[in-house]
């Protein structure tokens, strides 16, 4: 019997990345726990290839397609008027950014199973009754926006929900959603159906990511502005879409027994999106410290400072600020080498611009673009690790660097300041393991690096802080243990429930 069902949207095992690696690490780290994987995609035509080998403690990999056309009719014997009233209430809430448990319960009652099921997906998506209600909502709230966009927004936002209510979700003792959105909704569904607890771990905040994506998107229709006033709002449809994801997020937060996230900044954001802060616990990512400590002592060249940049050469990492900062540092410390460790073929145009800048600033001999190499070999040699990213989550590279005691100069994004200064008082007491700078300021970044190079005692203190910090708070084994305890706790709760139910 499956212990934990992991609900994954657009990630493991078909997409590579930080989240996928984390999921894989979690599953392989506790071979005694039986996992089920529920993977969500838009529809079957989505191209996929397995990026991981599924560990032996994975019982199944179930793929759910939220936009698949379902034609099979299901038995419907429930009260239709009540069901349609519930649907109407749902539309009203959902398109305004809400999705209360109360409404959800009603939908659950009238859509998901005998004997109360009154409507199925065919009727919900295509019947005249649905159309009437949709047009009524439009007339009331849509005034004169593009109807075709309104219809398709409704269809794309609502169809998956109806679809999911009609799906079979396998039993698990614990449902673990790895983001809100549709994954969260499935978690809510499974949890309700099988009376098992739901927990959530958020790496990036789904609602926020969608909000940014929607605001910037060009494929969502925005009415042209008439007149001279500037539009300060995002437009009817973008707002609609943002509301929809807000509603889904809030629903998941409400149903969770507990919410876990990687760092404190995320916790704050989740709270703004409707989560109860008392339900949120921070469990940071962890690194396998042993793997990052070299077995043999490392040859460090004498009298040379080595600056490390570990990451892909892409705009979000703002490599250009880094290059400019390096120029300033090299003025003061001519004996400096710079290693750019990470692939530079993802955004070839940008990479070329960076290399041109490197040449322009006369750094071509000192700055080495190493491409994709085994970074473990390089950490022990670095004197400082620099991050100039515009946006980050919880950068593992900082933690990996800490294993060898590499001090950090990072921008104030994501979890960086927490990782450098510590979150809890005990953590803070370890002392800073680096500097935090503003985004996009080569001057500040350079000054921080120079401070570290100029003051060997400071450097040593920071190295020590880093080593201790990662061992105490960012240890892979600790992370696994915490989640294992969590799973045990909820598993037992569920088993007790089952016994009590007889």
């Amino acid at each position: 019997m499956t212990d934990v069902a992991m609900i994954l949207e657009g990630t493991y095992p078909y997409v590579a990345g930080g989240v996928s690696s984390w999921v894989h690490a979690l599953i392989t780290g506790m071979p005694d726990v039986r996992f089920g994987l529920i993977f969500i995609a838009a529809n079957r035509e989505w191209e996929k290839s397995m990026k991981f080998t599924l560990p032996p403690n994975v019982d199944y990999l179930l793929e759910l397609y939220v936009y698949e056309m379902v034609t099979a009719r299901l038995p419907r014997r429930g009260p239709r008027k009540e069901a349609w009233d519930a649907i109407e209430r749902f539309y009203f809430e959902y398109l305004q950014g809400k999705f209360t448990m109360e409404t959800w319960e009603k939908l659950y009652k009238y859509l998901s199973g005998d004997p109360y099921r009154a409507l199925d997906i065919a009727e919900l998506a295509f019947s005249y009754k649905t159309w009437e209600r949709l047009v009524a909502y439009y007339r009331k709230h849509g005034s004169s926006v593009s109807f075709v966009d309104f219809y398709w927004t409704w269809r794309f936002a609502v169809y998956p929900i109806f679809q999911l209510f009609c799906m079979e979700i396998p039993f698990a003792k614990v449902y673990h959603a790895i983001c809100t959105g549709w994954a969260g909704l499935i978690g809510v569904m499974g949890s309700r159906k099988h009376k098992s607890p739901l927990i959530l771990t958020e790496h990036g905040i789904y609602t926020n990511e969608r909000k940014i994506e929607i605001s910037q998107s060009e494929w969502i229709y925005t009415e042209k502005d008439e007149g001279l006033t500037l539009r300060r709002d995002v437009g009817f449809f973008k707002e609609l879409w943002i509301n929809i994801f807000l509603a889904l997020g809030k629903l998941t937060y409400d149903k969770c027994s507990k919410i876990y996230t990687l760092y404190g900044g995320n916790k704050k954001m989740e709270t703004t999106y409707g989560a109860n802060p008392d339900m949120i616990e921070v469990i940071p990512n962890g690194v396998k410290i042993d793997q990052y400590i070299p077995k043999n002592p490392v040859e460090k060249p004498e009298g040379v400072f080595i600056i490390g940049f570990v990451g892909r050469v892409v705009p979000i990492k703002d490599v250009k600020t880094f290059i400019r900062a390096c120029r300033i540092v090299v003025e003061k410390f001519p004996n400096t080498e710079i290693d750019v460790i990470g692939p530079y073929d993802e955004d070839k145009e940008y990479s070329q611009e960076c290399m041109d800048l490197t040449a322009l600033l006369g750094l071509s001999e000192k700055m080495h673009y190493l491409g994709k190499v085994d970074v473990k070999q390089y950490y022990p040699k670095l004197d400082v690790l620099v991050l100039t990213s515009v946006s980050e989550g919880q950068p593992l590279v900082i933690l990996e660097g800490y294993c060898s005691g590499v001090p950090v100069v990072a921008t104030d994004v994501g979890a960086c300041s927490e990782i450098v200064f510590g979150l809890e008082p005990e953590d803070k007491a370890l002392g800073p393991s680096g500097f935090i700078t503003r985004v996009g300021s080569p001057q500040e970044t350079a000054e921080a690096i120079i401070k570290i190079f100029s003051d060997p005692e400071l450097m040593e203190r920071m190295r020590e802080s880093g080593r201790q910090r990662v061992r105490k708070y960012y240890n892979y084994d600790d992370m696994i243990k915490r989640y294992h305890d969590i799973y045990d706790h909820y598993r037992e709760e569920r088993e007790k429930q089952q016994v009590a139910a007889g």
């Binding site: 995609a41 838009a42 019947s127 159309w131 109807f147």
Partner: protein
Amino acid sequence: MAGIGFKLRTFVAEGTLMGILKGYLYSAVISSGPWIITVCTLAAISLMGGHEKHFEVAILYVYAFSLIVTGLFQFIVTRFLADRLYAEDLEVFLPTFMAVSLVVSLFQAVTGILAFGAMETSLLFRILAVVLYIVVSNLWLSLIFLGVVRAYQTIVWAFVIGSLISFATAFLLGKDFGGEGYIFGFTLGQFAIYVTLMYVMFTEFEAKRVFDFSFLGYFKVYPALAYLGLVFYMGVWADKFLFWWSDRGTVIVAPIFRASLEYDTAGFIAQLSVLPALALFMVKVETGFYEKYRDFYGGITAKLSFQDIETKKREIVENLKSGFGDFLRVQGLTTFFLVVFAPQFFYFLWLSDAGYALLQIHLVAAFWLTGLLLAMIILLYFEYYPQAIISAGVFLGSNLLFTQVGLRWRAFDGYGYLLACLCGFLVAAWFVARGLALLEFVTFSKQ
């Protein structure tokens, strides 16, 4: 994290919505073309009376059965070609024509030989009959292909000139050589049309392969459309067949070629009376209606508000109402006028006195039949295929029923057909009204 949000961009602008506009490529003219031509031909032949009976009856059977058999392909191939035209895939036209022509010609050859082979006439006559049968069937097919690309001028000229050749040659030769002469001349003219249209097709279309049978797939996708032509044409001929095989009919040429000449003639001449209105309506459809129709679907993709979309729909309804209204009034008056003066017309056309009653009934029937045809075409524009075939089915069914039952009483002759046309028209009209009322709903929910 990818999320599913990213995938949503696939719905915008492409596929689902643009497909709506495909409908416009359907041409109203193609649907009624073969029927109009048939009617004219048969009426003309009946009017120029006094010649060889086997020629007359051979023509009758050739036209009747070529319509029915090609009817099976007419609508579905039209739809297939319209879709291909929309996708700018013109290469498939010629190979598809070759494929359809091959299938139809083979079928007609086999059935033609079996049927006409039994005719008690000379061998030459029988051979020419089979040849004519195959040629005329292919003419209907080429109408479809040239019609989809709207080569109307070509079609009209080819038929006008070809028909002149047909009739002129037929009479010239017929005087001296009798039945064989008639049929040889006539076939020659039709063959001339065929050659002309083939020439146009082969020069207009480029092709990389000889045959393409992919149109067959459409039979599965649009089953209602596939059998529509078959059902409708059978409906049109059903009463005539029943008459031929009843005591009203006589054997014109042994062994199986029966006809009911008075009854048939009345039918064709009556149908002539509606042609002007039919042609007029066709023109109105191609211009006014089509524009409103396109504005409706175009308006949806142009992101109009719901209220504006409704307004566009209302404009379509207004346009149809006025078009149908005109038809009812103009043709209604004409038919009324013709009915009242039927005896005089009969005398004028040198037909027997007794038959004008039958003509009167058929005049009214033709009126309703044309209404049915027009309503069906409108249904096809909106892709209401099941509704179209149901209307045709009602027409066919009631024709069979009423005619068969009515055979008992001579006084009832023709009324069976009239009632069937009326029933078919009422059903189709009701479908049109309901279809228009639900148009927005159907447009969106179908996708």
